[in-house]
Symmetry: C2
Subunit: 464 residues, 2 copies
């Protein structure tokens, strides 16, 4: 009888005990983060002392050294670099663009920037009449006879009525990525794309574009949303309006660079790896504060938080600063390639690449059982503003890792995105406005603590 009573006690009290311990651990993570968090000062250095970090640039190289140095100083169990060859696109001399109206002698300057990966026009520039479209279907309907020799103006806005600005971005970004290839099919000599932005603004947003195999590589620029609206209005008023633009960008030879990895070795299940990271590269126009200095410093801070509260993990924890997310994804691919080569077993990977904003939740892709396990922790995370666990996730840098295969590997891992509140993200994304002063100390630190709390729970309870 005594034995049974004890057994029942054990059954009922153990989860409660574990819940209480988890609660206390998570509380201590957030307390350390809000009292002594280092994310903000790390980000200040990365953005203000190093600055922009496009792959192949001196800034990117300096960021690699910085990331390594900081984590070495922290005396993690291991810190290393993963060599990776990255594309080397350079903007060159600042772009110019202007509207040449048929009945006016003045020319109106436009706020533009070349899209990443674009070929330059060179000093001669391009000058042609404009064809405005919103979709590739519209473009196809216009066909060669209306497009040949012209500049195509892709002017589909991000849908402001969607609550999730990332969905609005997905709905518009095709123009930026593939607009030049599509326009070239019909003989266009250049493209100008409405900036991917939530708002009316004066500055352009850069971002990646790519040429499909076999197309003529025509130059591509982004125009500020204010000027996109103006251009649309002027084109309607003046059918003979022309655009002139000049870009000096070019793609050079690939150059060597690195992912930076910092690790705390696990105890009982050291072979099981939980990785978390952001990308170290940024666009050349930006300090890369929200995109994605925030994700990098948060990933580093997760490890610092565990050291600060004296937590020794069961599993192996890794902060990964990926190189080249913006224009090639070479770092993410290399990380996955090396993981496969070294037969590493990742049980979860968490990416933070949606800005250093206030916590909202986590999105997940992976086995149902693992996702259900994570959702069962919601009561522990909700007090910290983490309420959204409903979306599918898996950011660009960790996606290649999701394909890990092999005995006891395949289909086991969960890809997770940290979801902050995204309403301000596309005010800054890929622009000169993505600067340190746009980041709130508390919001940034809370993101690091949120990630650490989830890592702690996965480390404690596993995902099987």
């Amino acid at each position: 009888m005594k034995k049974i009573a004890f057994f029942i006690l054990l059954l009922t009290s153990l989860p409660a005990f574990s819940q209480t311990r988890d609660e206390a651990s998570i509380k201590s993570i957030f307390t350390e983060s809000l009292k002594n968090g280092q994310s903000y000062e790390l980000l200040r250095y990365l953005t203000k002392n190093i600055g922009s970090r496009l792959s192949g640039s001196p800034g990117a190289a300096a960021a690699v050294t910085w990331g390594q140095d900081v984590m070495v100083d922290w005396e993690l169990d291991s810190v290393w670099l993963q060599p990776v060859m990255v594309p080397h696109w350079v903007r060159g001399q600042k772009e110019i663009a202007s509207v040449v109206r048929s009945k006016k002698t003045d020319s109106l300057a436009l706020n533009v920037c070349a899209l990443g990966g674009s070929a330059g026009t060179g000093p001669g520039g391009v000058k042609a009449k404009l064809v405005e479209v919103r979709t590739f279907e519209e473009l196809a309907q216009l066909g060669k006879k209306n497009v040949q020799g012209k500049i195509v103006f892709f002017n589909r806005p991000m849908d402001p009525t969607l609550m999730n600005p990332f969905l609005a971005y997905q709905g518009a970004v095709g123009q930026r990525a593939d607009g030049a290839s599509e326009a070239a099919k019909y003989g266009a000599i250049g493209v100008i794309v409405r900036s991917m932005s939530s708002n009316p603004e004066d500055y352009p947003h850069t971002g990646m574009m790519r040429y499909k195999p076999g197309v003529v590589m025509i130059p591509a620029i982004a125009v500020s949303t204010h000027h996109a609206d103006l251009l649309s209005k002027l084109t309607k008023e003046d059918k003979d309006l022309q655009i002139y633009f000049e870009t000096h960008c070019e793609t050079l030879e690939d150059v060597p660079s690195f992912n930076v990895v910092g690790e705390i070795k696990g105890g009982e299940y050291a072979d099981e790896i939980i990785a978390f990271g952001g990308h170290l590269d940024s666009w050349d126009l930006a300090e890369g504060a929200h995109d994605d200095g925030a994700g990098c410093v948060q990933a580093m801070e997760v490890l610092r938080l565990f050291k600060a509260i004296g937590y020794r993990p069961n599993r192996t924890l890794r902060a990964v600063l990926f190189m080249n997310e913006e224009n090639g994804l070479r770092g993410g691919k290399m990380y996955a390639e090396l993981a496969a080569k070294n037969k590493e077993k990742h049980i979860a990977a968490i990416e933070s690449d949606q800005g250093g904003f206030t916590p909202r939740g986590f999105s997940m892709t992976g086995p149902e059982s693992a996702k259900a396990r994570i959702r069962s922790w919601k009561p522990l995370l909700e007090p910290y503003g983490l309420t959204d666990f409903s979306q599918a996730g898996g950011g660009a840098d960790i996606e290649p890792l999701g394909k890990q295969e092999g005995p006891d590997l395949s289909g086991q891992m969960v890809l997770i995105d940290y979801i902050p509140d995204a309403q301000r993200y596309f005010d800054y994304h890929h622009t000169q406005e993505d600067t340190f002063d746009k980041v709130s100390r508390r919001e940034l630190e809370l993101g690091a603590a949120s990630m650490a709390a989830l890592v702690y729970l996965i480390d404690q309870h596993g995902l099987k």
Copy 2:
């Protein structure tokens, strides 16, 4: 049999129909808000063209005229002013403060500002040794013999580890409000209070203080958090350190001002009023963007949204721009007084005075049944980020209204606060940093839409 089937159909399908209609209405509110919302441009005018609006100032008077003009232009059913006498405190010439160290000849300037309501030192200033305390208990223990003739330095920080910065504020703000009265009891000749802030910063935060009846009205200033830390360090190093400060503020005669009210008359239940508002006054140091230009433009925008989507309410809807929340609450009290005098029946009052940040939920105080009704709408509001309905609410301006009494009135109404994400609020609160550029267009507009959605639901379904 047919009849029964029809009856069952009616029973089961009506709520579903209503739910679908509510969903669609709320969707159309958010769509209008995110596409054509006017809150942001209204706030731009209020902050950039009018600017600071302390009660009794020309800015406050201009804001009254502006609020009235905008709502008259919108052709609401009625727009009117409610006269109210308000306190008239003026800062005068900029404050100065410095540290005078016993073994150094230089003097260190401190970033300070007089607290609202404080008496000034006049041109002679005050100069005395410093006594640092964290609590009134510490002060009492020190007693007259240690405090007499000195300046008391209240240096209790807002607790950074609390997730809700408003709780941290509540835990620290007593020093600011009552510090001078407490210190005067023991013969202090001035007080200097650590700014109410979440962060280490260079600028001071002003805010209201009050003198208890019978105490000597000693001058009170706030010091920036950076300088509070410095002062604390220097005082420990140099026991004979002195502080000099000079303030030129004074309280003049009360002056006339106004609440501004805009109304759309209800249909079937026109006698039931739903009021929503923010406060039009701000501190003199700030543009009053988040505190509380945001709340004012959101309240106005609620009415505009309903007109824009063609919604005719069942109940009477009122946007109220309260005057003098910061240093007297005269507007809130006058609104309640007039409501009582006119035997008005308010069923709900919603206040937005926690900044123009991204939506989180609503807090509520009132009858359990009404709160339960509101919570039952959570599924309709969650898609817009409104997930927190658990806290008690009732902001400063609407609290006096909560006491409405009379047949069919008493205990009926619900006081509601709109809760945005508050992590950045105390970076700006009552400072020179509370400016328009700290407001995100989408976050601000979403707040207006959130309030409109709740007003819509209360209007449709009542609270009984």
